[in-house]
């Protein structure tokens, strides 16, 4: 912002001519018309943008409360929460899918943290050969067309009895989320002040105690952010579960897919809304966990 201050008198002068400084010597009257026209254009553009952005979501919300909606009608014929009752019925498919999804996501976070905290620390603090190559290796599962990988994972899992099991799905999700957990954990450890660790060592703490009482607590917000990333990634994952989990493991995305392909748009839309909640909450709180000092070190 400080870089902007010298220019502010100029931009204030520019705004008088309606944000179009390249038109010199406009008379006051045509200047006003121009300002009005340009403002109207901006509002119209913003409205179109908002429609394209939120229209699809509005359609989803409408479908979730539409009890009957068929072709000639622009809006649902009758509204109601009947399908919400169907979805949230304790014995329904949706509740068991939600439980499966959350269980898988939590286990995925545990597995991802168990491998990424040690490797993040090693990448941030210890001397490793081919460090850059190792960092890129963790990126590869995200940077490769994944369908071709998953069909072969499914084949391998089938031969060792892991296909259609929660364990199999958790492993696939954890490998997919590893780039987030390792990269963010490494950045979080790199952002911890080394002097604090040295101070702890100086007053006689063992390396292990220093790690658990100084380094880990200081890196915790960043590691928390990586856990949230992995949790969401697992909750939203479709392709891997589609190949490895079927037919026994039905997560929310798979339920959504089956309902949608079966023409049951109400169930599909309500499931989609359930999946939206954590995504939107995350978008709002992410800045609290992922501080700028950690963010600037991601991927280094």
């Amino acid at each position: 912002m400080s870089g902007k201050s010298p220019s502010s008198p100029m931009s204030a002068a520019l705004d008088l001519s309606g944000g179009q400084p390249s038109v010199p010597h406009v008379s006051m009257k045509s200047g006003k018309v121009w300002t009005f026209g340009s403002t109207a254009l901006k509002i119209a553009g913003l409205a179109v943008f908002a429609f394209l952005l939120f229209g699809p979501l509005a359609n989803l919300a409408l479908w979730s409360v539409a009890e009957r909606w068929y072709t000639p009608f622009k809006l649902p014929v009758s509204y109601g929460l009947r399908y919400w009752e169907v979805v949230f019925r304790p014995t329904g498919d949706a509740m068991s899918s939600l439980a499966t999804s959350v269980t898988i996501a939590c286990l995925t976070v545990l597995v991802a943290l168990a491998v990424s905290i040690p490797s993040g620390y090693a990448l941030a603090r210890l001397r490793l050969p081919w460090r850059t190559a190792l960092m890129i290796l963790f990126l590869l599962p995200q940077a490769f067309p994944s369908v071709a990988i998953y069909i072969n994972v499914a084949r391998v899992f089938y031969s060792i009895g892991l296909s259609g099991t929660i364990t199999g799905v958790v492993l696939v999700h954890a490998a997919h989320g590893l780039v987030y957990s390792v990269w963010i954990a490494a950045a979080a450890f790199a952002a911890v002040d080394r002097d604090l660790e040295l101070a702890a060592r100086n007053i006689g703490a063992s390396p292990l105690r220093t790690f658990f009482t100084v380094t880990l607590p200081l890196a915790a917000p960043g590691i928390m952010a990586s856990a949230i990333f992995v949790f969401l990634e697992s909750l939203d994952e479709f392709t891997g579960t589609f190949f490895v989990g079927v037919p026994q493991v039905t997560t929310l995305p798979l339920l959504l897919y089956n309902a949608s392909m079966g023409g049951n748009y109400q169930i599909a839309s309500i499931t989609a809304l359930i999946l939206l909640v954590p995504s939107v909450v995350f978008m709002i709180v992410i800045e609290r966990f992922l501080k700028a000092d950690v963010l600037s070190k991601v991927g280094q």
């Binding site: 963790f138 590869l140 940077a143 490769f144 067309p145 369908v147 069909i151 897919y257 939206l276």
Partner: protein, 277 residues
């Protein structure tokens, strides 16, 4: 600190085993299945079959992904450009609060949204009819290649814009002000002064988007059901209907090649930049 740390290698081993078992091993498996014939020798017969059956879909996939990537780049440049160069504070605030929304929305939810929004009787056509822009008889369903492109662009623009706006915010404002003082229009400042300085970030964002779109299975399955379709759907079909791993893996290798070409363009650009520097 001269020698590699033994402890470091020990700590990173579990993560490496995981990548090896769940990514490198299946990758080798897919290459082996694509290139070996039933007898065991090396051959390209599966590629021939894949080409005979799916040459249209290969071109279709390439077309969808390239067009979506270019449109994503275009819209991201426009939005990030307005965020950086606009002199109307309320427009910047409104746009900044709007554009991010689809960022964390899963592809499958985006696909379900578009499946209803873009349908013949969806909210988009209904709104156009209600506004008098269109007669009910003129409405058409967008649930084909256009739907896939719209969904991809809708989902990827926030991601690339986020990266691009960040990069644009960190460039030296003095160059922009100098251009403006010399009388260059904002469009010209954007194209000639700002874009060259953030080209690297734009390229990274677009390469990542390209590969992401190449890997998505749910969007082509849910938004456009019929033929032609994208390679991801063909692979799933070969497996689920015929158990035909050889052809599916040949299609997989073709999608690696597409991703690899883009990665190569990116690396070449990087090398050129470093030589210049």
């Amino acid at each position: 600190m001269e020698r590699p740390s033994f402890l470091g290698l020990l700590l990173i081993t579990p993560a490496l085993i995981m990548i090896g078992a769940l990514f490198l091993y299946p990758l080798g498996f897919s290459l082996a299945a694509a290139f070996t014939e039933p007898g065991g020798g090396l051959s390209l017969m599966h590629f021939q079959k894949a080409y005979e059956l799916y040459s249209t879909d290969i071109l279709f996939t390439l077309f969808i992904v390239v067009v979506s990537t270019l449109l994503t780049g275009l819209f991201s440049i426009i939005i990030a450009g307005i965020l950086t160069l606009s002199e109307t504070p309320w427009l910047i605030v409104a746009l900044r609060n709007l554009y991010r929304w689809p960022l964390f929305i899963p592809f499958i939810v985006a696909a379900q949204c578009m499946r209803t929004f873009l349908a013949k009787n969806g909210l988009m056509n209904n709104s156009f009819v209600a506004l008098g822009l269109m007669e009910p008889i003129q409405t058409t369903s967008f649930l084909d290649w256009r739907g896939i492109i719209i969904t991809f662009v809708w989902k990827q623009v926030p991601f690339v814009t986020l990266m691009l706006a960040g990069a644009m915010a960190s460039i030296d404002r003095a160059t922009i002000e100098a251009g403006r003082n010399l009388g260059a229009s904002r469009v010209r400042v954007l194209i000639e002064l700002v874009l060259p300085q953030v080209a690297q970030t734009l390229l990274v964002g677009l390469v990542l988007s390209f590969v992401t779109m190449l890997s998505v299975l749910s969007v082509p399955m849910m938004v456009a059901g019929s033929q032609p379709t994208m390679l991801t759907v063909d692979m799933a079909f070969r497996i689920n209907s015929y158990g035909d791993y050889a052809t599916a893996n040949a299609l997989g290798v073709i999608s690696y090649l597409m991703a690899g070409t883009v990665a190569w363009i990116y690396l070449r650009h990087n090398v050129k930049r470093e030589v210049q520097a």
